[in-house]
């Protein structure tokens, strides 16, 4: 079942990457420079890391029929507090202590933000879109307060490792994504948590009657989303060794929602596809990198993006595929009996 859901996103990702090959034959080339891997593909994964992390968090929130509009602001807050902690700690200490203090402060603040969203939605019963809108607006204000509205530059080597460092020739941010994705996959596949989240998203009242503590499940997904945004904020701020309360993570919530939707998770809640969201995030980042490297004029960037997104969404829609693509697609699909079952499964849901 997962396979058929991932099929279209993966195909689209491959098409976007293949388009690059026409313009730049060296696009897929990966070489070792200064002891680490470089190449456009590495860039896409590296730059896409924050979006992938946030999409993972967002997937679980959307699975409970919620939405978290606050993630962009949490990114700004997390980066700002980390930067300010480093700047203040650096004066008295040149060891690694300021780094860990910064990480603790950033994750602490983002968890607090997640807790705030979670409490508003689960305990007070405010609609998610409204509850998280509060933090979307206020969070950026808090970030600007923390940085005093200035772009703060950090001259502290260890801090730049989080978003710009390499471990065994691979960007460190990739390990962070892998770790968070691994935890999320494990918790939702190997424990009952995944089922709980799905059932809360499908019908919170029925889940409560069935003995699931819906409120705590909802609280948990917002906490996790806040955590993911916090890590993403650390990566983004560390990557440029500065904290920008005004622009860091701007519109990230929309990109993350888009990634989740491209990945096949419905905004109506219920079933969710973590791997799909990760691929969705990669599609968005590949598109961005492609636009930069094949030299599309900046005035048309957004239109190109929108056209690709429309195509992706159309291909994702079973109704569209049935009406437009079905006649031609039928034959190859018949060969695999497993696949036709999947199509039915899609229709039922």
């Amino acid at each position: 079942m997962l396979k058929s859901r991932l099929f279209w996103p993966v195909i689209i990702l491959l098409i976007i990457l293949a388009i690059n090959l026409f313009f730049d034959p060296g696009f897929f080339k990966i070489e070792v420079k200064n002891g680490h891997l470089t190449g456009s593909l590495v860039d896409i994964v590296n730059r896409g890391a924050p979006l992938m992390l946030i999409s993972i968090g967002m997937t679980l929130v959307i699975a409970t029929k919620g939405i978290d509009l606050g993630v962009g602001s949490v990114i700004a807050m997390s980066g700002s507090i980390a930067a300010m902690t480093v700047v203040q700690g650096m004066a008295s200490d040149t060891s690694l202590t300021p780094l860990f203090m910064a990480i603790a402060a950033a994750l602490g603040l983002s968890l607090a933000a997640g807790l705030w969203n979670g409490l508003l939605v689960s305990r007070i019963g405010i609609q998610p879109i409204v509850a998280t809108l509060i933090l979307m607006v206020a969070g950026r204000g808090i970030a600007q307060l923390i940085t005093d509205g200035q772009i703060t530059t950090i001259y502290y080597e260890p801090y730049s490792f989080i978003g710009g460092g390499y471990l065994f020739a691979i960007p460190f941010s990739v390990y962070l994504v892998a770790a968070v994705l691994g935890i999320a996959l494990y918790m939702t596949k190997k424990t009952a948590l995944g089922l709980f989240i799905q059932s809360v998203g499908a019908n919170p009242e029925a889940s409560r009657l069935a003995g699931i503590n819906s409120k705590n499940i909802i609280l948990l997904v917002y906490l996790f989303s806040g955590f993911c945004a916090g890590v993403g904020g650390l990566i983004l701020s560390s990557n440029v060794s500065s904290a920008d309360g005004n622009n860091a993570g701007l519109w990230f919530e929309l990109d993350a929602i888009l990634a989740v939707v491209i990945g096949g998770t419905s905004l109506m809640g219920g079933r969710f596809f973590l791997m799909g969201s990760v691929i969705g995030a990669l599609i968005i980042q590949s598109l961005t990198t492609t636009i930069y490297s094949i030299g599309i004029p900046p005035e048309t960037n957004l239109i190109v993006k929108a056209v690709v997104v429309i195509i992706v969404c159309l291909l994702q829609s079973p109704e569209f595929r049935q009406k437009v693509l079905r006649p031609r697609m039928k034959k190859p699909h018949k060969k695999e009996p497993e696949n036709s079952l999947n199509e039915q499964g899609v229709k039922i849901s």
Partner: protein
């Protein structure tokens, strides 16, 4: 329930009216409270009313401070009004300046249109108006004395001229990548235009890639990374529409394994502190100034006008260009 809701609405409306009334009354107070000693102005001591747009950015705050202190330091009397981005506040402020019979009005219009009537009133009252930083869009240019502000096209031309001079004697094509500002913004359009004007006369300079970096470090870095991957060693020059994008791109160049400032010549605009730090470290070659500190120049112009000189309708802010060699020396003196 319905009745309660209605009552609540009525109460809310009343509160709103009270609050609004309070706001507008404090505004008029703010505009008039600095009056008083205007009458004793001698021939060289002027009373100058200054209506600023607001305080929306660091640049603007530095600009306000510079103009305010230049006026008071020169011994003139200042009447200041902050419009908080609202045209009606600004019209009110100018009317109050006219009523107080100031000698000159300095004015950064919030929007380009809609000020004809109030500026005519100023003209009829014989008060000269000096536009700063932002222009107005009227047919009748007798309504103001001069417009003093940064010329973004000129900044692009300066950057290009520096580059042409620097690259003199280099044979073959010189490949330039450009990081544009936010699409559609005046500085992005004009800095691109000015740069291209000069480049058009020098066919061996080629702009091979041009993309928006939204004026931010993160985007500047990301776009530069993609440029490096597609064009790599072919890139000779980076022209960024502001220093922040240049700083982000410098990091990308370093990570790619090239030396910014040596392998790739880096040009920025704005002359913010970060650019001086980068230049002092030898990673950036030049930055063209976009100066908010034109208070002293403004006061000179006002004094020149009262001394009977005729001024051009458009005067550019005196802006320098700073190179790597000057950076270390100047770094401690940078205010913003």
């Amino acid at each position: 329930m319905v009745i309660q809701l209605k009552r609540f609405r009525v109460v809310f409306l009343m509160l709103l009216i009270i609050v609004l009334a309070a706001c507008s009354s404090t505004n008029t107070e703010g505009n008039t409270n600095s009056g008083g000693e205007g009458g004793e102005a001698s021939s060289d001591k002027l009373v100058i009313g200054f209506s600023q747009v607001g305080a929306e950015s660091e640049w603007r705050t530095a600009n306000t401070k510079s103009i305010k202190s230049a006026i008071t330091d020169a011994g003139h009397e200042l009447k200041f009004s902050d419009a908080q981005q609202k045209q009606e506040n600004q019209i009110k402020a100018i009317r109050s300046f006219i009523a107080q019979k100031v000698d000159a009005i300095v004015f950064s219009p919030v929007v380009e249109t809609g000020f004809e009537t109030v500026l005519k009133e100023a003209k009829d009252a014989g008060i000269p108006v000096f536009l700063v930083d932002r222009a107005v869009d009227f047919e009748d240019d007798t309504l103001w004395v001069t417009f003093l502000g940064s010329d973004f096209v000129e900044e692009g031309i300066k950057a290009a001229n520096w580059l042409v001079e620097e690259m003199e004697g280099v044979d073959g094509d010189i490949n330039i990548v450009e990081l544009q500002g936010t699409v559609g913004s005046a500085p992005a359009i004009d800095r691109k235009e000015g740069f291209e004007q000069v480049m058009a006369e020098h066919p061996n300079f080629r702009i091979i890639k041009s993309q928006s970096g939204d004026f931010t470090r993160a985007k500047g870095k990301e776009v530069m990374e993609a440029f490096l991957k597609s064009d790599g060693e072919n890139i000779d020059v980076l022209y960024a529409h502001n220093d922040d994008m240049a700083i982000g791109a410098i990091q990308a160049i370093e990570e790619y394994g090239l030396k910014p400032g040596e392998d790739i010549t880096v040009i920025g605009v704005d002359a913010v502190k970060g650019a001086f730090e980068a230049m002092a470290a030898g990673k950036m070659n030049v930055t063209v100034e976009c100066n908010p500190l034109f208070g002293p120049q403004l006061v000179e112009l006002i004094e020149a006008h009262f001394a009977g000189e005729t001024l051009d309708k458009r005067i550019s802010v005196e802006e320098g260009i700073y190179t790597m060699d000057q950076a270390k020396e100047l770094l401690p003196t940078r205010k913003y």
